[in-house]
Structures are given as structure tokens and as C-alpha cells.
């Protein structure tokens, strides 16, 4: 029932060539690719930082890094992985696949979409430029606890770069999530009712809501911090009456939803891959979808489980412990649904499937340590120890990163038109699984033995040498696995077998179009009649899953310079803000120039909207 798309044609939007094509693109697929590639580069950078950390901790009383450098490296590692690697990879996949999966031609606001990407790139550059211009990188941890962030303890400009970088990343995420929400509500193909949407789309929807409600809290927090560091306020400085716990509340009210922001899209892709490679519909679609919503809602009620050690009082501790345990119920529901999907399935152990299974196994381990941490008395024993580090790496690496690697294998054929090598992919998976467990499982033991996190080194007689050595060896296996992935990626890109439209015999709409899809995604409009339009058409009878509307005229806005110009203005603005308090004579002119650039961008943008009324 594949429609021959080449016979239909649509006026192509004016195209630019070469690198200008990428700079000016407003195509959600190109933007998605740029997101994913950029995020992967940051993943590699963050990974190199992790190797430095592991080298330093590989044996006791090591001095590969100075304590100051160590603080910078672990801070940048966490910040990079959270904000510049996992979040943007998620954003990249959402960008590319949400419109395709709902049968839309593009995102709701194509130009704003481009802006979101550029702000990600510029935010990352601001943050990393602190190494060069800031006298040192941020050094107070990704959670940036006060008063470590005060100018007394964090003497370089690093934390100011951190704040401004995060502001840009925040605007990027906010715009991106508004875009996803509107796209999903408004641009679904006819008949693609909410309860027929692919689960990845569901999870993208929930994630975007989490972002728009969680981001403001950290935005306020980092702005207060910036005022403390630059304009003489004392919000977080206890000596002057400020309250470090205010920071923790503002940070974790964002920070806990943030962990779900990172994992829900992973839940989504796994819920797509498992049915395809089990040759069975997902078990309990409604439960998987609505438990995601439940997790999202409950996610806002548990933030203080990160603050058990701050003496909140018995009542508060009890509430937050109970809420945290409660949240593992919908999480568990999902896991049982996945297992039931596998049950009696016709399992096909392709690489995406291996990563999905790896994901389930690793995530369960992380979930179990999570629930134990939710018990306040136990948490008090192990908080700030390597046990916590083990926990969140099992959920974030074993969970999110595994799922996202799986997604890369799953969707690579759609994006490039080529298959990735299964053989190398399997090497990648097994080396990664081994390396990951070797790195992080021993950290449970280290934590239980009392090794604190965020320490630069430790003494020989503390008995932590062995597990630390294992962990360091493991980290190099992870690095090797990542290299294998890169090799696979390059080889497959050049010589991969042609993929065809639907190499996995999958069920969702992105496989109904060519690989790679044309600029406007689909030449026809699909009228959707079921949750698995492709499968139902193929296996239940033509027209059962979807029918076709040929009278369809997708509209794409032309390429535009406005988003990058506007974003560049905000980028320059960050440097102006950096100098505003310390050197106003430099800062103010930079700010004026920045506003002028942003104005030029905005002006172009408004002009373009007048001609072509999509944002």
C-alpha cells in the first residue's frame, strides 16, 4: 500500500545550498539533526571530562588534577550531560519525529524552532567559554549549592558564565516545549486522536509540560544568584540573612521534574521499539500513556527528597518520602507493561531491541536504589555519597542513554536512508553494558562504605582503592563503546545498506514516508483510524489503519536568517551582562550592540511573519 510519492509534487520552498542551507533552515528534520549532532558532541566532551574524573579517582592520593580543576571538571561534566547532551538529544528526536509521527508537515513554529537550536549552541558556547575568558569554569556542581556559589567560595567568573549559559539554554527549552505542545495539540493528522498518538508523542507532550512548569523555578533561582554575585544582594548568603535553602527549593523544584524531563522521552522511544521488535502491540497503551502523565504530575511533589539532610522536619520528610515512593508506582506500571509486551512476543534481537532490553534492566536497578533513597532514614546514611552517584547513573545512563542509543539505531535508517551495521552495533551494546556496570555498580559499594561524592581524592587506608579502580577501568570501556558507535555511524553513513521506507516493519506514521523524508514530510494527508496505522493497513486490511487524502497542500515557510540573528543577539547579550557590574563601560556598550542585533533579527522575523504567518 506504499503510495508512490514521487508522482505528486509541491512547490518547493526556496532553498539555499551548502552551509547556508543549515544556518537558515527552518525544517524540523534538519533542526533535529543539528540538535542531535550538537548534543552528541557535548556528550563526547562531557565524557572526556568524566574520564578525567575517573583518572583522578582511579587510585588513592592521586594528583592528576588539582582540587580546583577537579571541581571545574565535575561541575562541567554534570552540567554538560544534563543540559547539553541528554536534554538536547531528546529535543532532537522530538523535533525530528513528533511531526512525522503525527503526520504533520513541520513543527507549529518553524522559525522559533530554529531559534531554539541556535540558543542551545550559543548557550553551550557561553558556558564553555568560561574556561578561556572566565578565569576558570563553573565549579560549584551542577546543583550549584549556595553558599558554594558565592563570590567568596567560587572566586572565578565561572558561575556567572554558568548562569548566563543556562539562561540561554532555558529560553531554548522553553521555546522548544511550547513548540512541541502546540504542534501536538494542533497539527495532528485528521483522526490522530490523543488516544491514538504514538507513545513517544505522548511522552514528548508530558515532557514539554514539565519543562514549561519547571524551568521558571530555576530561572528565578539563577537570576537571584546572578544578583547575589553581581549586584550586591544577599539572597543566598547566610551571613547577611540570606537563605541557602531557598536555592535548594528553587533548584530542586526544577531539578526533580528535570530528571523526568530526561527520562520520559526515553520511556517513549522504548515504548515504540519494544512492540516493533516483539511483533506485538504495546501491552496496556492507556496505562503506559497515563502513567507518564501521573509521573509528570507527581514529579512536582517530590523535590525535597533531595533535601532530607537539611532538616525539613518530620512532617515534611514523611510527606516527601511518601510522595517519592508513590511515584515509583506509575514507573513500575510502565515496566510491567513493557515486560508484558515482550511476553510471548516474537522477539527480534536487533540492536535497538538490545538497547531497549538493556534499558529496562538497568533502569530497574536505578529505580530500586531510588526507592531506597526515598526512605529518609536510609537516605540520611548515604546522601552525598557514591551511592547516590550510582543511583542516578543507573537511571540516567543505564536508562536515558541506553534508550537514546537504541533510538539512534532505530531511527538512523529513517534519517539517512541507510541501515546501521548490526554487527558493530552489537559490539557497541555489549561493550557498553559491560563498561557501564563495571563503572557504576562498584559505586554502590563505595557509597555504602562511606565514600563521599564530590571529593577530589581519598586516602589509601580507607579501603576504597579496589572499587575505584574497577570503576575507572569501566569508564574506559564506556569510552571504547562510544568509539565503536562513532565508527559504526561513519561506516554506516557511507556504506550502510539501503533502508527503504520501513526497514523494521513498524507501525507508526514516520515509516509511511521515504527515508529520508522529503522536505514537506508527506505528499499526502493520512487520515488515521487506529493506533497502529501501518500495521493495521497491512495486517487487518487496507484502510483499517489509515486512508489517504490526496487533496493536500502542505505549506513550508522559506529559509530564514532571522532566528540565528536574533539568537546571536541574545548570545552577545550574555557577554554584556557578564561585564555589566564589573566593567560597566564595557558591559553597557556590548548590551546595546546585542540589543541592536536582536532587534534586527526580530524585525526581519516580524517582516517575514507578515508575509508568511507562521512564527
Amino acid at each position: 500500500m506504499a503510495t508512490d510519492v514521487s508522482t505528486l509534487h509541491h512547490a518547493p520552498a526556496k532553498q539555499r545550498r551548502g552551509w547556508l542551507e543549515w544556518i537558515t533552515t527552518v525544517d524540523h528534520k534538519k533542526i533535529g539533526i543539528m540538535y542531535a549532532v550538537t548534543a552528541f558532541l557535548f556528550f563526547v566532551i562531557g565524557g572526556l571530562e568524566a574520564l578525567l574524573i575517573r583518572l583522578q579517582l582511579g587510585s588513592s592520593q592521586n594528583a592528576i588534577l588539582t582540587p580546583e580543576a577537579y571541581n571545574q571538571v565535575f561541575t562541567m561534566h554534570g552540567t554538560t550531560m544534563v543540559f547539553m547532551a541528554i536534554m538536547p538529544v531528546n529535543a532532537g528526536f522530538m523535533n525530528y519525529f513528533v511531526p512525522l509521527m503525527i503526520g504533520a508537515g513541520d513543527m507549529a513554529y518553524p522559525r522559533m524552532n530554529a531559534m531554539s537550536y541556535w540558543l542551545l549552541l550559543f548557550g553551550g558556547i557561553v558556558m564553555y567559554s568560561s574556561f578561556v575568558f572566565g578565569g576558570g569554569a563553573p565549579d560549584a556542581g551542577w546543583f550549584a549549592y549556595a553558599p558554594l556559589t558565592s563570590t567568596t567560595y567560587s572566586v572565578t567568573r565561572g558561575m556567572d558564565y554558568w548562569v548566563l549559559g543556562l539562561q540561554l539554554l532555558g529560553v531554548s527549552s522553553l521555546a522548544g516545549s511550547v513548540n512541541i505542545i502546540v504542534t501536538i495539540i494542533r497539527l495532528r493528522a485528521p483522526g490522530m486522536r490523543f488516544n491514538r498518538m504514538p507513545l513517544f508523542v505522548w511522552m514528548s507532550f508530558v515532557t514539554s509540560f514539565l519543562l514549561i512548569f519547571a524551568l521558571p523555578s530555576i530561572t528565578v533561582g539563577i537570576t537571584l544568584l546572578f544578583f547575589d554575585r553581581n549586584f550586591g544582594t544577599n539572597f543566598f548568603l547566610p551571613a547577611a540573612g540570606g537563605d541557602p535553602l531557598l536555592w535548594q527549593h528553587l533548584f530542586w523544584f526544577f531539578g526533580h521534574p528535570e530528571v523526568y524531563i530526561m527520562i520520559l522521552p526515553a520511556f517513549g522511544v522504548v515504548s515504540e521499539m519494544l512492540p516493533v521488535f516483539s511483533r506485538k502491540p504495546i501491552f496496556g497503551y492507556e496505562f503506559v500513556a497515563y502513567s507518564g502523565v501521573a509521573i509528570g504530575v507527581l514529579g512536582f511533589t517530590v523535590w525535597a527528597h533531595h533535601m532530607f539532610a537539611t532538616n525539613l522536619g518530620v512532617i515534611a520528610d514523611t510527606f516527601f518520602a511518601a510522595a517519592s515512593m508513590l511515584i515509583s508506582v506509575p514507573t513500575g506500571v510502565k515496566i510491567f507493561n513493557w515486560l508484558a509486551t515482550l511476553w510471548r512476543g516474537e522477539l527480534r534481537f536487533k540492536t535497538p531491541m538490545l538497547f531497549s532490553l538493556g534499558f529496562i534492566a538497568m533502569f530497574v536497578i536505578g529505580g530500586i536504589s531510588g526507592v531506597s533513597l526515598a526512605a529518609a532514614p536510609f537516605d540520611l546514611q548515604v546522601t552525598d555519597s557514591y551511592f547516590v552517584v550510582a543511583h542516578f547513573h543507573y537511571v540516567l545512563f543505564g536508562g536515558a542513554v541506553f534508550a537514546l542509543f537504541g533510538a539512534a539505531y532505530y531511527w538512523f535508517p529513517k534519517i539517512t536512508g541507510k541501515m546501521m551495521s548490526e554487527r558493530i552495533g552489537k559490539w557497541h551494546f555489549w561493550i557498553l553494558l559491560l563498561g557501564f556496570n563495571l563503572t557504576f555498580f562498584p559505586q554502590h559499594m563505595l557509597g555504602l562504605q562511606g565514600m563521599p561524592r564530590r571529593v577530589w581524592t581519598y586516602q589509601q587506608n580507607q579501603g576504597w582503592d579496589f572499587y575505584n579502580l574497577l570503576s575507572t577501568i569501566g569508564s574506559f570501556c564506556i569510552a571504547l563503546a562510544t568509539l565503536v558507535f562513532i565508527v559504526n555511524f561513519i561506516i554506516s553513513l557511507r556504506k550502510g545498506a539501503p533502508a527503504g521506507n520501513d526497514p523494521w516493519d513498524a507501525a507508526t506514521l514516520e515509516w509511511a514516508t521515504t527515508s529520508p523524508p522529503p522536505a514537506h514530510n508527506f505528499d499526502v494527508e493520512y487520515i488515521v483510524h487506529s493506533r497502529r496505522p501501518l500495521w493495521d493497513n497491512k495486517y487487518s486490511g487496507e484502510g483499517r489503519g489509515m486512508t489517504i487524502n490526496y487533496d493536500f497542500h502542505p505549506h513550508l515557510p522559506p529559509p530564514s536568517f532571522a532566528p540565528i540573528i536574533f539568537s546571536f543577539g541574545l548570545f552577545v547579550l550574555a557577554y554584556g551582562m557578564l561585564n555589566l557590574a564589573s566593567a560597566p563601560l564595557i558591559g553597557i556598550p556590548i548590551i546595546l550592540v546585542a540589543l541592536a542585533i536582536a532587534f534586527v533579527g526580530m524585525n526581519r522575523w516580524v517582516g517575514e511573519i507578515a508575509q508568511d504567518p507562521v512564527l
Binding site: 521558571p216 528565578v220 537571584l224 549586584f231 540573612g241 531557598l246
Partner: protein, 209 residues
Amino acid sequence: MAQAVVRDIDKNDPGRGLDLRKLGMWTFLGSEVFFFGALVVTHLSMRGVVAPSASKANLDVAGVRNMFGDNVLTSILAFILLTSSLTMVLALDGVKTNNQKRFRFWLGATIACGVIFLGGQVYEFYHIVHEYNVTIKNMMFGSTFFFVTGFHGTHVAVGVIWLVSLLVSAIRHPERYNAGNYMAVELGGLYWHFVDLVWVLIFTVIYLI
């Protein structure tokens, strides 16, 4: 045939019929609610704090309250800002009924209210700093006060710029906004109403309780 099917489906799927831009605006405002929520919570939790190293400017909250006088100025400003919501409604009504003169007049009035509000706020800031020596640095109440009202003021300023640009483009292209095309005005209005509403909250929290 297919077209009819699509039309039928759309009837049962309200989401697909919503206006694209308005939906985005509502989503953004949802986020703004949390932004101002965090600001107000910060203010409430910090404003009573007296620095351990009691400095000369350490008035307690009750003492600080005096600096607002009997709130005459801010009450008037609040009234003006709320009035501007009404004028904004009238402006939108003007454009919806294709009455360009009414539209521009009330849009201008809305802008004027916004500018008066901002002027009043600047005056108030100046007054507090110079007469009561309360600054953003020297006491916690000052810090949160200026932080919260400052961010609200910034939002009002953005709103004023937005409305001015609408007015300018309405004057330069007289027929751009009309009964068939008023979404740009409606969006500006949505934002404006939101900013006004937030002021009700901030006014209550900071000046009244």
C-alpha cells in the same frame, strides 16, 4: 470525499481547530504563572529576614510598610493598570468591528496607561531609595521588593513596546489589522491582560499583606 471526512473528524477533535498562535501564547503564559509564582514565594519567604549583622537600614517589615505611605500612589497605579485592561478590550473590539479609529484610540490609551504605570514605578523606586534608604543591597526586604516589582515592571515595559509596535504598524499599514485579521492584536492583548493580572497578585502580596 476525503475532505468531508477530514471536516467530520475535525468536528470531534477540538484541538485541531484551535488557533496556532493563541495556543502558543497560552502555553507561554502558563509558564509565566510559575515564574511569578516563584518570585512571589521568594518574596514571602525572605521579606521578613533581618540580617544578623543588623545594619542601620534594617527596618522591620512593619517599619518598611511606612515607606509605602497609605499606598495612595500604588493604588492609583494599580487602578490605572487595571483600567488599561479595559481599554485593551475596547481596542480589540475596535479592530474586530473594523473601526480603525476606535482601535487606534484605545490602543493608544492602553499604551498611555502602561507608560504612566512605569513612570509611577520609577518615581516610587526613587522615593524609596532616597527617602528611606532602602536599596536592593542593604536589606532583604529591599532585595526582594525591587526584584519582584522590577521583574513585573520589565514585563510591563515589554508589553508597552509590543503594543507600540502594533500601533506603529497599524498606522503604517492602515488595513493590516481588520475584522478578518486581528490575531496579532489579540495576542498582544492576552499578554497585556496577564501582566495586569499578575500585578493584582503582586500588589496584594507586597503592599497589602
